[in-house]
Protein backbone atom coordinates (compact mmCIF):
# COMPACT_ATOMS: atom_id res chain seq x y z
CA UNK A 1 0.00 0.00 0.00
CA UNK A 2 2.74 2.41 0.99
CA UNK A 3 4.61 1.46 -2.16
CA UNK A 4 1.52 2.23 -4.23
CA UNK A 5 1.11 5.58 -2.50
CA UNK A 6 4.73 6.50 -3.19
CA UNK A 7 4.34 5.49 -6.84
CA UNK A 8 1.16 7.58 -7.14
CA UNK A 9 2.93 10.59 -5.66
CA UNK A 10 5.87 10.18 -8.02
CA UNK A 11 3.51 9.95 -11.02
CA UNK A 12 1.49 12.94 -9.89
CA UNK A 13 4.68 14.94 -9.43
CA UNK A 14 5.91 13.88 -12.87
CA UNK A 15 2.61 15.04 -14.41
CA UNK A 16 2.91 18.38 -12.62
CA UNK A 17 6.52 18.73 -13.84
CA UNK A 18 5.40 18.12 -17.42
CA UNK A 19 2.66 20.73 -17.16
CA UNK A 20 5.01 23.25 -15.53
CA UNK A 21 7.62 22.87 -18.28
CA UNK A 22 5.18 23.00 -21.19
CA UNK A 23 4.14 26.21 -22.91
CA UNK A 24 0.71 27.66 -22.19
CA UNK A 25 -0.16 27.45 -25.89
CA UNK A 26 0.50 23.70 -25.96
CA UNK A 27 -1.52 23.11 -22.80
CA UNK A 28 -4.52 25.07 -24.14
CA UNK A 29 -4.39 23.39 -27.57
CA UNK A 30 -4.22 19.86 -26.15
CA UNK A 31 -6.87 20.68 -23.57
CA UNK A 32 -9.28 21.68 -26.32
CA UNK A 33 -8.40 18.64 -28.43
CA UNK A 34 -8.75 16.19 -25.55
CA UNK A 35 -12.16 17.50 -24.50
CA UNK A 36 -11.26 17.44 -20.80
CA UNK A 37 -13.83 19.29 -18.65
CA UNK A 38 -12.70 22.69 -17.43
CA UNK A 39 -15.43 23.38 -14.86
CA UNK A 40 -13.89 23.92 -11.47
CA UNK A 41 -14.18 26.27 -8.53
CA UNK A 42 -11.14 28.51 -8.06
CA UNK A 43 -10.04 28.26 -4.44
CA UNK A 44 -6.94 30.39 -4.89
CA UNK A 45 -5.50 32.49 -7.69
CA UNK A 46 -4.43 32.23 -10.35
CA UNK A 47 -1.90 34.62 -8.83
CA UNK A 48 1.69 35.55 -9.66
CA UNK A 49 4.41 35.86 -7.05
CA UNK A 50 8.11 35.32 -6.48
CA UNK A 51 10.16 32.28 -5.60
CA UNK A 52 13.78 32.83 -4.61
CA UNK A 53 16.06 30.45 -6.48
CA UNK A 54 18.71 28.76 -4.37
CA UNK A 55 22.04 27.42 -5.53
CA UNK A 56 24.81 25.71 -3.58
CA UNK A 57 28.26 27.12 -2.82
CA UNK A 58 30.75 25.34 -5.09
CA UNK A 59 27.86 23.42 -6.70
CA UNK A 60 27.27 21.00 -3.81
CA UNK A 61 27.91 22.99 -0.61
CA UNK A 62 25.62 25.08 1.56
CA UNK A 63 22.66 26.80 -0.08
CA UNK A 64 22.64 30.49 -1.02
CA UNK A 65 20.08 32.74 -2.70
CA UNK A 66 20.77 33.43 -6.37
CA UNK A 67 17.80 35.59 -7.37
CA UNK A 68 14.07 35.50 -7.81
CA UNK A 69 11.77 34.12 -10.46
CA UNK A 70 8.14 34.76 -11.28
CA UNK A 71 5.82 31.86 -10.43
CA UNK A 72 2.08 31.62 -11.00
CA UNK A 73 -0.06 29.34 -8.87
CA UNK A 74 -3.66 28.23 -8.77
CA UNK A 75 -5.77 25.90 -6.65
CA UNK A 76 -9.11 24.53 -7.83
CA UNK A 77 -11.86 22.16 -6.63
CA UNK A 78 -13.78 19.98 -9.04
CA UNK A 79 -17.55 19.44 -8.75
CA UNK A 80 -16.60 15.87 -7.73
CA UNK A 81 -14.54 17.25 -4.82
CA UNK A 82 -10.90 16.72 -5.83
CA UNK A 83 -8.60 19.66 -5.12
CA UNK A 84 -5.79 20.33 -7.60
CA UNK A 85 -2.78 22.60 -7.48
CA UNK A 86 -0.42 24.20 -9.94
CA UNK A 87 2.80 26.12 -9.45
CA UNK A 88 4.64 27.06 -12.65
CA UNK A 89 7.38 29.47 -13.65
CA UNK A 90 6.20 32.58 -15.47
CA UNK A 91 3.01 34.61 -15.44
CA UNK A 92 0.62 32.50 -17.52
CA UNK A 93 -2.59 32.49 -15.46
CA UNK A 94 -4.65 30.51 -17.93
CA UNK A 95 -2.06 27.75 -17.99
CA UNK A 96 -1.90 27.72 -14.17
CA UNK A 97 -5.69 27.33 -13.93
CA UNK A 98 -5.83 24.52 -16.48
CA UNK A 99 -2.83 22.75 -14.93
CA UNK A 100 -4.51 22.89 -11.50
CA UNK A 101 -7.67 21.38 -13.01
CA UNK A 102 -5.53 18.71 -14.68
CA UNK A 103 -3.96 17.91 -11.29
CA UNK A 104 -7.41 17.59 -9.72
CA UNK A 105 -8.72 15.39 -12.55
CA UNK A 106 -5.58 13.26 -12.33
CA UNK A 107 -6.46 12.42 -8.70
CA UNK A 108 -9.83 11.04 -9.79
CA UNK A 109 -9.11 7.35 -10.59
CA UNK A 110 -11.86 7.44 -13.22
CA UNK A 111 -10.24 10.37 -15.01
CA UNK A 112 -6.53 9.69 -14.59
CA UNK A 113 -6.04 7.70 -17.79
CA UNK A 114 -7.83 10.38 -19.79
CA UNK A 115 -5.56 13.12 -18.41
CA UNK A 116 -2.45 11.00 -18.96
CA UNK A 117 -3.21 10.04 -22.56
CA UNK A 118 -4.95 13.20 -23.73
CA UNK A 119 -2.72 15.79 -22.10
CA UNK A 120 0.37 14.60 -20.21
CA UNK A 121 1.65 12.01 -22.70
CA UNK A 122 1.67 14.31 -25.74
CA UNK A 123 3.22 17.16 -23.70
CA UNK A 124 5.85 14.80 -22.33
CA UNK A 125 6.68 13.49 -25.75
CA UNK A 126 7.02 17.01 -27.19
CA UNK A 127 9.34 17.97 -24.33
CA UNK A 128 11.39 14.80 -24.80
CA UNK A 129 11.76 15.52 -28.52
CA UNK A 130 12.86 19.09 -27.81
CA UNK A 131 15.35 17.93 -25.16
CA UNK A 132 16.76 15.22 -27.41
CA UNK A 133 17.17 17.72 -30.21
CA UNK A 134 18.97 20.15 -27.91
CA UNK A 135 21.24 17.36 -26.65
CA UNK A 136 22.04 16.28 -30.23
CA UNK A 137 22.81 19.86 -31.28
CA UNK A 138 25.11 20.29 -28.28
CA UNK A 139 26.74 16.90 -28.96
CA UNK A 140 27.70 18.14 -32.44
CA UNK A 141 29.88 20.78 -30.73
CA UNK A 142 31.81 18.18 -28.71
CA UNK A 143 35.58 18.47 -29.17
CA UNK A 144 37.33 15.36 -30.53
CA UNK A 145 41.00 15.62 -29.67
CA UNK A 146 43.61 14.12 -32.00
CA UNK A 147 47.04 13.18 -30.82
CA UNK A 148 49.72 14.51 -33.13
CA UNK A 149 52.50 11.94 -33.25
CA UNK A 150 55.88 13.60 -33.32
CA UNK A 151 59.26 11.94 -34.02
CA UNK A 152 59.62 8.21 -34.60
CA UNK A 153 57.66 5.42 -32.90
Amino acid sequence: MRGQEARDQAERKAAMATLAQSSGDDVVRLWNESGLPSEAELLRGPETGLVTVRGRIGGGGSPFNVGETTVTRATVRLPSGQVGHCYALGRDKQKARLAAIADALWQDPARRAEVETGLIAPLRSALATAHERRRAETAATKVDFFTMVRGED
Binding site: L50, G55, I57, G58, S62, F64, A139
Partner: protein
Protein backbone atom coordinates in the same frame (compact mmCIF):
# COMPACT_ATOMS: atom_id res chain seq x y z
CA UNK B 1 15.28 81.79 4.70
CA UNK B 2 14.04 78.72 2.84
CA UNK B 3 11.87 79.25 -0.21
CA UNK B 4 10.11 76.24 -1.73
CA UNK B 5 9.86 76.34 -5.49
CA UNK B 6 7.26 74.58 -7.55
CA UNK B 7 7.08 74.14 -11.28
CA UNK B 8 8.01 71.97 -14.18
CA UNK B 9 4.91 69.76 -14.28
CA UNK B 10 4.18 70.62 -17.89
CA UNK B 11 7.83 70.28 -18.86
CA UNK B 12 8.03 66.85 -17.20
CA UNK B 13 4.84 65.61 -18.86
CA UNK B 14 6.03 66.82 -22.25
CA UNK B 15 9.47 65.32 -21.72
CA UNK B 16 7.85 61.95 -21.03
CA UNK B 17 5.75 62.08 -24.16
CA UNK B 18 8.85 63.09 -26.12
CA UNK B 19 10.62 60.08 -24.58
CA UNK B 20 7.75 57.83 -25.74
CA UNK B 21 8.08 59.24 -29.24
CA UNK B 22 11.85 58.82 -29.42
CA UNK B 23 11.57 55.34 -27.93
CA UNK B 24 9.29 54.34 -30.78
CA UNK B 25 11.51 56.07 -33.33
CA UNK B 26 10.72 56.26 -37.04
CA UNK B 27 7.12 55.02 -37.43
CA UNK B 28 7.89 53.61 -40.86
CA UNK B 29 10.16 51.04 -39.13
CA UNK B 30 8.17 48.13 -37.63
CA UNK B 31 7.89 48.21 -33.82
CA UNK B 32 9.91 45.57 -31.96
CA UNK B 33 7.92 42.71 -30.51
CA UNK B 34 8.93 41.23 -27.15
CA UNK B 35 9.39 37.76 -28.65
CA UNK B 36 11.91 39.21 -31.10
CA UNK B 37 13.92 40.61 -28.21
CA UNK B 38 13.66 37.37 -26.23
CA UNK B 39 14.79 35.30 -29.21
CA UNK B 40 17.34 37.55 -30.89
CA UNK B 41 18.79 39.68 -28.09
CA UNK B 42 18.81 36.74 -25.69
CA UNK B 43 22.06 37.57 -23.91
CA UNK B 44 20.93 41.14 -23.22
CA UNK B 45 17.74 39.65 -21.79
CA UNK B 46 19.87 37.29 -19.68
CA UNK B 47 21.92 40.17 -18.32
CA UNK B 48 18.78 42.05 -17.29
CA UNK B 49 17.43 38.90 -15.60
CA UNK B 50 20.68 38.26 -13.74
CA UNK B 51 21.34 41.81 -12.52
CA UNK B 52 17.65 42.62 -12.16
CA UNK B 53 17.63 39.44 -10.05
CA UNK B 54 14.36 38.29 -11.60
CA UNK B 55 14.11 35.31 -13.92
CA UNK B 56 11.39 36.23 -16.41
CA UNK B 57 12.34 36.63 -20.07
CA UNK B 58 9.27 38.54 -21.24
CA UNK B 59 9.53 41.05 -18.39
CA UNK B 60 13.23 41.57 -19.11
CA UNK B 61 12.44 42.09 -22.81
CA UNK B 62 9.72 44.61 -21.93
CA UNK B 63 12.17 46.42 -19.67
CA UNK B 64 14.79 46.54 -22.44
CA UNK B 65 12.39 48.05 -24.97
CA UNK B 66 10.95 50.47 -22.41
CA UNK B 67 14.51 51.56 -21.51
CA UNK B 68 15.40 52.02 -25.19
CA UNK B 69 18.11 49.39 -24.83
CA UNK B 70 19.72 51.01 -21.77
CA UNK B 71 20.37 47.80 -19.83
CA UNK B 72 21.02 49.41 -16.45
CA UNK B 73 17.75 51.35 -16.77
CA UNK B 74 16.07 48.05 -17.72
CA UNK B 75 17.58 46.35 -14.66
CA UNK B 76 16.23 49.22 -12.53
CA UNK B 77 12.72 48.69 -13.99
CA UNK B 78 12.83 44.96 -13.27
CA UNK B 79 14.02 45.52 -9.69
CA UNK B 80 11.19 47.98 -9.13
CA UNK B 81 8.63 45.54 -10.57
CA UNK B 82 9.67 42.63 -8.38
CA UNK B 83 8.91 44.62 -5.23
CA UNK B 84 5.22 44.60 -6.28
CA UNK B 85 4.88 40.80 -6.14
CA UNK B 86 4.11 38.61 -3.12
CA UNK B 87 6.69 36.01 -2.14
CA UNK B 88 5.86 32.32 -2.28
CA UNK B 89 9.08 31.03 -0.74
CA UNK B 90 12.60 29.74 -1.34
CA UNK B 91 13.22 26.99 -3.87
CA UNK B 92 15.07 23.80 -3.05
CA UNK B 93 18.73 24.24 -4.01
CA UNK B 94 19.25 23.51 -7.69
CA UNK B 95 21.55 20.65 -8.67
CA UNK B 96 23.87 21.72 -11.47
CA UNK B 97 25.19 18.14 -11.82
CA UNK B 98 21.83 17.13 -13.35
CA UNK B 99 21.73 20.08 -15.75
CA UNK B 100 20.55 19.66 -19.34
CA UNK B 101 23.93 20.90 -20.53
CA UNK B 102 24.15 23.25 -23.53
CA UNK B 103 27.81 24.13 -23.04
CA UNK B 104 30.49 22.69 -20.83
CA UNK B 105 34.20 23.37 -21.01
CA UNK B 106 37.13 22.81 -18.70
CA UNK B 107 40.52 24.47 -18.99
CA UNK B 108 42.09 22.06 -16.48
CA UNK B 109 41.25 18.66 -17.99
CA UNK B 110 41.29 17.78 -21.67
CA UNK B 111 39.58 14.41 -21.29
CA UNK B 112 36.84 14.41 -18.74
CA UNK B 113 33.62 12.39 -18.43
CA UNK B 114 31.05 13.93 -20.75
CA UNK B 115 33.71 15.74 -22.76
CA UNK B 116 34.19 19.34 -23.80
CA UNK B 117 30.99 20.71 -25.34
CA UNK B 118 31.48 24.11 -26.94
CA UNK B 119 27.78 24.93 -27.40
CA UNK B 120 26.67 28.28 -28.84
CA UNK B 121 29.86 30.23 -28.05
CA UNK B 122 31.55 33.37 -29.37
CA UNK B 123 34.90 31.70 -28.62
CA UNK B 124 36.98 30.94 -31.73
CA UNK B 125 34.91 33.30 -33.89
CA UNK B 126 37.05 35.86 -35.71
CA UNK B 127 35.11 38.85 -34.43
CA UNK B 128 34.58 40.10 -37.95
CA UNK B 129 31.33 41.92 -38.62
CA UNK B 130 29.06 39.83 -40.81
CA UNK B 131 27.45 41.71 -43.71
CA UNK B 132 25.23 38.71 -44.47
CA UNK B 133 23.54 39.20 -41.12
CA UNK B 134 22.75 42.78 -42.10
CA UNK B 135 21.17 41.49 -45.30
CA UNK B 136 18.93 39.22 -43.21
CA UNK B 137 19.43 35.91 -44.99
CA UNK B 138 18.20 32.50 -43.84
CA UNK B 139 20.22 30.66 -41.22
CA UNK B 140 20.91 26.94 -41.58
CA UNK B 141 19.67 24.50 -38.93
CA UNK B 142 22.48 23.42 -36.58
CA UNK B 143 24.08 20.01 -37.06
CA UNK B 144 23.14 17.16 -34.77
CA UNK B 145 25.18 14.24 -33.57
CA UNK B 146 24.30 11.08 -31.74
CA UNK B 147 24.26 11.75 -28.02
CA UNK B 148 26.08 9.77 -25.38
CA UNK B 149 24.45 8.89 -22.12
CA UNK B 150 27.64 9.49 -20.17
CA UNK B 151 27.09 11.38 -16.94
CA UNK B 152 28.69 14.79 -16.66
CA UNK B 153 30.00 15.19 -13.10
CA UNK B 154 31.23 18.60 -12.03
CA UNK B 155 34.99 18.92 -12.48
CA UNK B 156 35.30 19.88 -8.81
CA UNK B 157 34.06 16.38 -7.92
CA UNK B 158 36.79 14.83 -10.10
CA UNK B 159 39.51 16.94 -8.47
CA UNK B 160 38.16 16.15 -5.02
CA UNK B 161 39.07 12.47 -5.44
CA UNK B 162 42.75 13.39 -5.20
CA UNK B 163 42.20 15.33 -2.00
CA UNK B 164 44.14 18.31 -3.33
CA UNK B 165 41.19 20.66 -3.52
CA UNK B 166 39.05 22.14 -0.83
CA UNK B 167 35.43 20.95 -0.54
CA UNK B 168 32.43 22.77 -2.04
CA UNK B 169 31.95 25.24 0.80
CA UNK B 170 29.96 24.44 3.92
CA UNK B 171 28.50 27.01 6.25
CA UNK B 172 28.11 26.09 9.96
CA UNK B 173 25.41 23.47 10.67
CA UNK B 174 22.74 25.83 12.01
CA UNK B 175 23.36 28.55 9.41
CA UNK B 176 20.26 29.90 7.67
CA UNK B 177 21.03 31.32 4.21
CA UNK B 178 20.98 35.12 4.40
CA UNK B 179 18.87 37.19 2.02
CA UNK B 180 19.96 40.70 1.04
CA UNK B 181 16.45 41.45 -0.23
CA UNK B 182 15.15 41.05 3.34
CA UNK B 183 17.98 42.24 5.60
CA UNK B 184 20.34 45.20 5.22
CA UNK B 185 23.98 44.50 4.33
CA UNK B 186 26.25 44.03 7.33
CA UNK B 187 30.01 43.61 7.31
CA UNK B 188 31.77 41.29 7.65
CA UNK B 189 29.27 39.05 5.85
CA UNK B 190 29.03 35.29 5.38
CA UNK B 191 30.03 33.81 2.02
CA UNK B 192 26.46 32.83 1.09
CA UNK B 193 25.28 36.44 1.39
CA UNK B 194 28.31 37.65 -0.55
CA UNK B 195 27.48 35.23 -3.36
CA UNK B 196 23.91 36.53 -3.54
CA UNK B 197 25.21 40.09 -3.86
CA UNK B 198 27.78 39.05 -6.48
CA UNK B 199 25.22 37.13 -8.52
CA UNK B 200 23.13 40.29 -8.99
CA UNK B 201 26.19 42.58 -9.10
CA UNK B 202 27.16 44.71 -12.08
CA UNK B 203 28.97 42.69 -14.72
CA UNK B 204 31.32 45.53 -15.67
CA UNK B 205 32.31 46.24 -12.07
CA UNK B 206 32.96 42.58 -11.25
CA UNK B 207 34.77 42.07 -14.55
CA UNK B 208 37.15 44.95 -13.77
CA UNK B 209 37.82 43.64 -10.26
CA UNK B 210 38.36 40.10 -11.53
CA UNK B 211 40.74 41.49 -14.13
CA UNK B 212 42.60 43.41 -11.43
CA UNK B 213 43.31 40.14 -9.58
CA UNK B 214 44.80 38.67 -12.76
CA UNK B 215 47.03 41.72 -13.18
CA UNK B 216 48.55 41.29 -9.75
CA UNK B 217 46.25 43.08 -7.31
CA UNK B 218 45.55 40.07 -5.06
CA UNK B 219 46.77 37.55 -7.60
CA UNK B 220 45.24 34.14 -6.99
CA UNK B 221 46.37 32.01 -9.95
CA UNK B 222 43.00 31.03 -11.38
CA UNK B 223 42.10 28.23 -13.78
CA UNK B 224 38.66 27.62 -15.18
CA UNK B 225 37.97 24.22 -13.67
CA UNK B 226 34.65 24.24 -15.45
CA UNK B 227 32.01 26.40 -17.02
CA UNK B 228 28.63 24.84 -17.66
CA UNK B 229 25.50 26.41 -19.09
CA UNK B 230 22.11 24.78 -19.30
CA UNK B 231 18.72 24.23 -17.75
CA UNK B 232 18.12 22.95 -14.26
CA UNK B 233 14.86 21.95 -12.65
CA UNK B 234 13.44 24.06 -9.89
CA UNK B 235 11.34 22.72 -7.01
CA UNK B 236 9.53 24.35 -4.13
CA UNK B 237 8.33 22.87 -0.84
CA UNK B 238 4.72 23.91 -0.24
CA UNK B 239 2.46 23.01 2.69
CA UNK B 240 -0.42 21.82 0.52
CA UNK B 241 1.52 19.00 -1.16
CA UNK B 242 3.37 16.02 0.33
CA UNK B 243 6.24 16.44 -2.16
CA UNK B 244 8.28 19.35 -3.53
CA UNK B 245 6.29 20.87 -6.38
CA UNK B 246 8.18 21.10 -9.71
CA UNK B 247 8.12 24.66 -11.10
CA UNK B 248 9.81 24.18 -14.46
CA UNK B 249 13.38 24.82 -15.57
CA UNK B 250 15.69 27.83 -15.48
CA UNK B 251 18.85 28.35 -17.51
CA UNK B 252 21.92 29.19 -15.45
CA UNK B 253 25.66 29.57 -15.98
CA UNK B 254 28.02 28.06 -13.43
CA UNK B 255 31.75 28.72 -13.17
CA UNK B 256 34.08 26.70 -11.00
CA UNK B 257 37.32 28.61 -10.70
CA UNK B 258 40.24 26.62 -9.30
CA UNK B 259 43.04 28.61 -7.69
CA UNK B 260 46.52 27.52 -6.75
CA UNK B 261 47.21 28.24 -3.09
CA UNK B 262 50.57 27.86 -1.42
CA UNK B 263 49.11 27.52 2.04
CA UNK B 264 48.94 29.79 5.07
CA UNK B 265 48.73 29.56 8.83
CA UNK B 266 45.04 28.72 8.40
CA UNK B 267 45.05 26.26 5.49
CA UNK B 268 47.48 23.75 3.90
CA UNK B 269 48.76 24.05 0.30
CA UNK B 270 45.96 22.96 -2.02
CA UNK B 271 43.69 24.21 -4.75
CA UNK B 272 41.17 26.67 -3.42
CA UNK B 273 38.02 27.70 -5.24
CA UNK B 274 35.89 30.58 -6.34
CA UNK B 275 32.30 30.02 -7.40
CA UNK B 276 30.05 31.79 -9.87
CA UNK B 277 26.37 31.08 -10.54
CA UNK B 278 24.14 33.45 -12.51
CA UNK B 279 20.83 33.43 -14.35
CA UNK B 280 20.89 32.84 -18.10
CA UNK B 281 23.84 32.42 -20.41
CA UNK B 282 26.24 34.87 -18.80
CA UNK B 283 29.68 33.32 -18.93
CA UNK B 284 31.78 36.47 -18.48
CA UNK B 285 29.73 37.42 -15.45
CA UNK B 286 29.96 33.95 -13.90
CA UNK B 287 33.76 33.98 -14.35
CA UNK B 288 34.11 37.48 -12.89
CA UNK B 289 31.90 36.46 -9.97
CA UNK B 290 34.07 33.40 -9.29
CA UNK B 291 37.27 35.49 -9.37
CA UNK B 292 35.76 38.00 -6.94
CA UNK B 293 34.38 35.25 -4.68
CA UNK B 294 37.87 33.77 -4.37
CA UNK B 295 39.53 37.15 -3.78
CA UNK B 296 36.98 37.99 -1.08
CA UNK B 297 37.87 34.82 0.81
CA UNK B 298 41.28 36.29 1.69
CA UNK B 299 40.58 36.67 5.40
CA UNK B 300 39.04 33.19 5.64
CA UNK B 301 42.16 31.65 4.04
CA UNK B 302 44.63 33.73 6.03
CA UNK B 303 45.85 35.89 3.15
CA UNK B 304 46.87 39.53 3.53
CA UNK B 305 44.15 41.93 2.39
CA UNK B 306 46.11 44.27 0.13
CA UNK B 307 43.91 44.98 -2.90
CA UNK B 308 40.49 46.39 -3.73
CA UNK B 309 39.12 43.04 -4.94
CA UNK B 310 39.74 41.54 -1.47
CA UNK B 311 37.98 44.35 0.39
CA UNK B 312 34.53 42.95 1.11
CA UNK B 313 32.90 46.20 2.13
CA UNK B 314 34.33 48.02 -0.90
CA UNK B 315 33.32 45.33 -3.40
CA UNK B 316 29.87 44.44 -2.11
CA UNK B 317 28.84 48.03 -1.29
CA UNK B 318 29.61 49.13 -4.84
CA UNK B 319 28.63 46.09 -6.90
CA UNK B 320 24.93 46.91 -7.23
CA UNK B 321 24.38 49.02 -10.33
CA UNK B 322 20.86 50.09 -9.32
CA UNK B 323 22.17 51.60 -6.10
CA UNK B 324 25.17 53.05 -7.91
CA UNK B 325 23.15 54.63 -10.70
CA UNK B 326 20.64 55.99 -8.20
CA UNK B 327 23.29 57.82 -6.20
CA UNK B 328 25.32 59.02 -9.17
CA UNK B 329 22.29 60.11 -11.19
CA UNK B 330 20.61 61.93 -8.33
CA UNK B 331 23.33 64.56 -8.78
CA UNK B 332 21.48 65.92 -11.81
CA UNK B 333 18.30 66.64 -9.83
CA UNK B 334 17.82 70.20 -8.56
CA UNK B 335 20.32 71.11 -5.83
CA UNK B 336 19.62 74.83 -6.11
CA UNK B 337 19.47 75.55 -2.38
CA UNK B 338 22.48 73.35 -1.55
CA UNK B 339 24.42 75.06 -4.26
CA UNK B 340 23.43 78.55 -3.12
CA UNK B 341 24.78 77.76 0.33
CA UNK B 342 28.01 76.40 -1.16
CA UNK B 343 28.30 79.45 -3.42
CA UNK B 344 28.06 81.80 -0.44
CA UNK B 345 30.63 79.79 1.43
CA UNK B 346 33.14 79.69 -1.44
CA UNK B 347 32.69 83.47 -2.05
CA UNK B 348 33.47 84.18 1.57
CA UNK B 349 36.47 81.85 1.63
CA UNK B 350 37.80 83.34 -1.60
CA UNK B 351 37.45 86.87 -0.22
CA UNK B 352 39.36 85.86 2.91
CA UNK B 353 42.01 84.15 0.80
CA UNK B 354 42.42 87.18 -1.46
CA UNK B 355 42.64 89.49 1.53
CA UNK B 356 45.34 87.32 3.04
CA UNK B 357 47.42 86.58 -0.06
CA UNK B 358 47.15 89.86 -1.86
CA UNK B 359 45.93 92.61 0.45
CA UNK B 360 46.70 95.50 -1.97
CA UNK B 361 44.94 94.00 -4.92
CA UNK B 362 41.98 93.07 -2.74
CA UNK B 363 41.79 96.69 -1.61
CA UNK B 364 41.95 97.88 -5.23
CA UNK B 365 39.17 95.55 -6.15
CA UNK B 366 37.06 96.71 -3.30
CA UNK B 367 37.66 100.33 -4.23
CA UNK B 368 36.86 99.67 -7.88
CA UNK B 369 33.71 97.92 -6.84
CA UNK B 370 32.76 100.81 -4.63
Amino acid sequence: MYVAVKGGEAAIANAHSLLADRRRGDRSVPALRLDQIVEQLALGVDRVMSEGSLYDRELAALAIVQARGDLIEAIFLVRAYRTTLPRFGYSKAIDTATMLVERRVSATYKDLPGGQLLGPTFDYTHRLLDPELAAGGDVAEPLQRETETQAMPRVSAILAREGLIEPDGEMPQDHVPGDITREPLEFPMARDIRLQALSRGDEGFLLALGYSTQRGYARNHPFVGEIRIGEVELELDVPELPFAVPLGTVRVTECQMVNQFKGSAKAPPQFTRGYGLVFGQSERKAMAMALCDRALRAAELGEDVVAAAQDEEFVISHSDNVQATGFVEHLKLPHYVDFQAELDLVRRMRAEYDARENPVKADDKREAAE
